[in-house]
């Protein structure tokens, strides 16, 4: 009798995995294996697991096939490829070599330091047993039944953990101040922002456990999860996790046999960027227009419905069980002295490997872009990296050797912010990017304080003038003055940081601004008002392709004779430029 073998198939069903057809891939695996009675044929026990995001989203759907602990990973799996994987690999034991992940997957994964993302992509996010199997809820049990509240807080302070969302305030200190408030009713809120989605979808129980420990530490009996309704999958998995935790008695009354009671409620956020600001978020939970409050009093003193309130984001909470379980010293050994631990980013833009990455604090930008990211896509050189969402500063190629941590980001005029990291290349125009961010911030400004409401509007008008070639040199000085005013006098972070892309852009890419303002030229060839398309006669073979693709009918000419572009009719879409095979179209 042959020894019983096991086959495990793990299919990535994070947002990107699903978007690439992961659910179909999983169901075809199940169907093929069950219908054909393969289990009996090969005398192997097959199990299928849906797992969360493992980061390398550009090659989704990722599928692990593990036969007797021998794991291989397939990339870009389409529903049509499943049959071949089943017949050749699972039945005959010969992996389909062409479809396996390549070196880039290896370097993408090994250069990271995954602590909160570690279980994502390994465990089934819809199974509490999987989480319990990796010592889940042990930290909560230890904290609640064996540690005093102040001991928990002391440990979090010692770890050096700082808020992973906003300005990087010490999490433990925040908890300590809230705990010390006299009011007996306290609240704790977990904000699940866009960059936290993979955590909520890949390992929701860690967030719940962190929130539970936080609630115990500050003496709160009520936690809220603030999340946009639109993040359906995140909501679904968190909801399931809460139900499972309630069934096990981790949430509810007399948790772990103590007198501690804790309940978690959802608050469905509405579409507004300002809700990332903690006091605006509380206004939103209270059912009002999300406009930030004047501080002091701070939320830890007077927050939700006037009660002392702690707000942290899902990534911060995901770190808590690890700190309690593995110790503050272990945590602070990762990262730098002032910025301990790791940080999750969505690496996107013009790099080869885009996806979700977790790096130790202090890792140089260069290692992130060229190591994990695998370098620039399509060979166009890097121009700038932007961290922290629309109000993050632009970091030029010359500063890539700086390490990514709170201190350096602040020095670079940037923020950790939303945890997005976008890489721009030489084809991107700094002025145009800055205008794009300002457009967004102007639209999302809540309108409560004049510096932000009027400042973002005026800055947008001036930036538009620059991109349209109508600006004068003085406009740059006006923009600088407005930036300073908004930074010092806005009510909340949105207004205070809105000018970051402009200020850093002007510092590092002054020539590009001057080219727009003085020479009325866009060096990157992006600002349509400043570019013209024309045909170089000696190169044009008269193939008529440009004439065919032009949506405005601006190209004229006969077959095999040089064509012409009518500048007045041209809408500058660049279709001809892209289509021409002879490089006969000139963009200036």
């Amino acid at each position: 009798m042959i020894e019983q073998q096991t086959v495990t198939i793990k299919v990535c069903l994070g947002t990107a995995g699903r978007a690439s057809g992961g659910a179909d891939v999983l169901s075809i695996f199940q169907k093929l294996i069950q219908l054909n009675g393969i289990e009996a044929q090969i005398d192997k026990k097959c199990s299928y697991t849906k797992v969360g995001c493992r980061g390398f989203c550009s090659k989704d759907v990722l599928v692990d096939v593990i036969i007797n602990d021998q794991k291989v990973t397939y990339q870009s799996v389409k529903p049509t490829m499943v049959e071949k994987i089943v017949t050749e690999h699972i039945l005959k034991g010969e992996p389909v070599a062409d479809w396996l992940t390549k070196e880039d997957y290896e370097s993408f994964q090994t250069k990271q330091h995954k602590i909160v993302l570690g279980p994502c992509g390994e465990i089934d996010p819809e199974s509490i047993d999987d989480y319990l199997g990796m010592k889940g809820y042990r930290a909560a049990e230890k904290a609640i039944s064996k540690m005093r509240r102040d001991e928990v807080i002391k440990k979090v302070i010692q770890s050096g953990l700082r808020g992973r969302g906003g300005s990087g305030f010490s999490t433990g200190t925040k908890w300590e101040i809230c705990k010390s408030q006299a009011d007996s009713t306290k609240y704790i809120i977990c904000n699940v922002g866009e960059v936290n989605r993979p955590l909520a979808e890949g390992n929701p129980h860690a967030i719940i456990e962190g929130l539970l420990i936080g609630g115990y530490a500050i003496g709160s009996e009520k936690g809220f999860i603030y999340i946009r309704e639109r993040y359906h999958l995140s909501v679904e998995r968190l909801r399931l996790a809460i139900t499972q935790a309630k069934d096990k008695g981790f949430i509810g009354r007399n948790i772990f046999g103590t007198d501690f009671c804790f309940d978690i409620e959802f608050s469905f956020g509405t579409e507004a960027f300002i809700c990332g600001e903690e006091t605006a978020l509380m206004e939103s939970i209270e059912g009002k227009r999300a406009m930030p409050r004047v501080r002091p009093p701070f939320p830890v003193q007077k927050g939700l419905w006037g009660k002392p309130t702690v707000i942290n984001n899902a990534e911060t909470f995901s770190n808590i069980p690890l700190i309690i379980g593995k110790g503050a010293r272990w945590f602070s050994s990762i990262g730098t002295k002032e910025s301990t631990g790791t940080k999750v980013f969505t690496l996107s833009g013009k790099v080869k490997n885009v996806g979700l990455v977790e790096i130790p604090m202090g890792m140089p930008f260069r290692d992130i872009v060229y190591g994990i990211g695998g370098g620039m896509e399509s060979g166009v050189a890097l121009k700038a990296v932007q961290v922290g969402g629309p109000s993050g500063g632009l970091i030029p190629a010359s500063m890539l050797d700086m390490g990514l941590d709170y201190e350096n980001l602040s020095k670079l005029g940037s923020i950790v912010g939303s945890g997005g990291m976008v890489v721009f290349n030489e084809d991107d125009c700094i002025v145009s990017i800055t205008k794009f961010f300002m457009e967004f911030l102007q639209r999302e400004s809540c309108g409560k304080c004049p510096p932000c409401r009027i400042g973002t509007k005026r800055m947008l008008e001036l930036l538009t003038k620059i991109t349209e070639g109508r600006a004068e040199y003085n406009d740059l000085a006006t923009l600088e003055r407005l930036s300073g005013l908004m930074k010092t006098s806005s009510l909340c972070g949105l207004g205070r940081t809105a000018s970051n892309p402009f200020i850093t852009g002007l510092n590092h890419f002054r020539d590009e601004y001057l080219a727009h303002v003085r020479e009325k030229k866009c060096p990157a060839g992006v600002c349509t008002a400043l570019i013209t398309f024309s045909i170089v006669e000696d190169r044009c073979k008269g193939c008529t392709l440009c004439k065919k693709v032009c949506p405005a009918g601006a190209v004229s000419g006969e077959v095999k004779k040089p064509h012409r572009i009518d500048a007045a009719a041209c809408i500058k879409c660049g279709a001809c430029f892209k289509a021409c095979k002879f490089k006969a179209i000139k963009k200036q």
């Binding site: 978007a19 866009e194 939103s284 833009g349 885009v354 629309p390 976008v422």
Partner: protein
């Protein structure tokens, strides 16, 4: 009459769950697909809260609609990562494929509403479009139009091929 029954049901849940004005409007939008003016007037009278409070909230958050929305919603993400990978072009061509005029978000026959989102957090598969609840990554204008064309038969979604 039917309208009033529906409103009453929403108000009952609202009272029972001790909801806020936002949750009340969210439930109303979930039932009607938008916020009918009569509904706001009715709630205003019952709760003795001025209509301006309701409209203040409804116009602050982009998730609320004051006009009927289409049976299907297609959202184009216009966050930074999607922007530099051509989200504007997708939005433009999608709108023209659905013959939407300037300022209109919903087709005449109420089959589609087109929206843009700020960032949906799927930057690694930018540019992204969301059809009803399903997210589609690495899209281009042609593919998004193809997505919409998947509805041609009897207004039901007939599928999309991954290629």
């Amino acid at each position: 009459m039917i309208m009033e029954q529906k409103l009453k049901a929403i108000l009952d849940t609202h009272t029972k769950t001790r909801g806020t004005l936002i949750t009340l409007l969210q439930q109303t939008e979930a039932v009607f697909g938008y916020l009918p003016e009569e509904a706001v007037g009715w709630f205003s009278k019952k709760l003795e809260i001025p209509e301006s409070k309701f409209f203040g909230i409804a116009t602050f958050y982009s998730q609320f609609h004051l006009r009927p929305t289409g049976k299907n919603t297609i959202t184009v993400c216009c966050g930074a990562a999607c922007h530099i990978k051509g989200a504007d072009k997708i939005l433009h061509e999608l709108r023209s494929a659905l013959s939407l005029g300037k300022g209109d978000d919903t087709t005449q026959d109420l089959s589609f509403t087109v929206q843009n989102a700020t960032c949906i957090g799927a930057c690694s598969i930018a540019p992204v479009a969301i059809l009803n609840n399903q997210v589609y990554g690495n899209m281009d204008a042609e593919q998004v139009v193809k997505l919409v064309k998947g509805f041609e038969k009897e207004g039901e979604y007939t599928g999309f091929e991954y290629d």
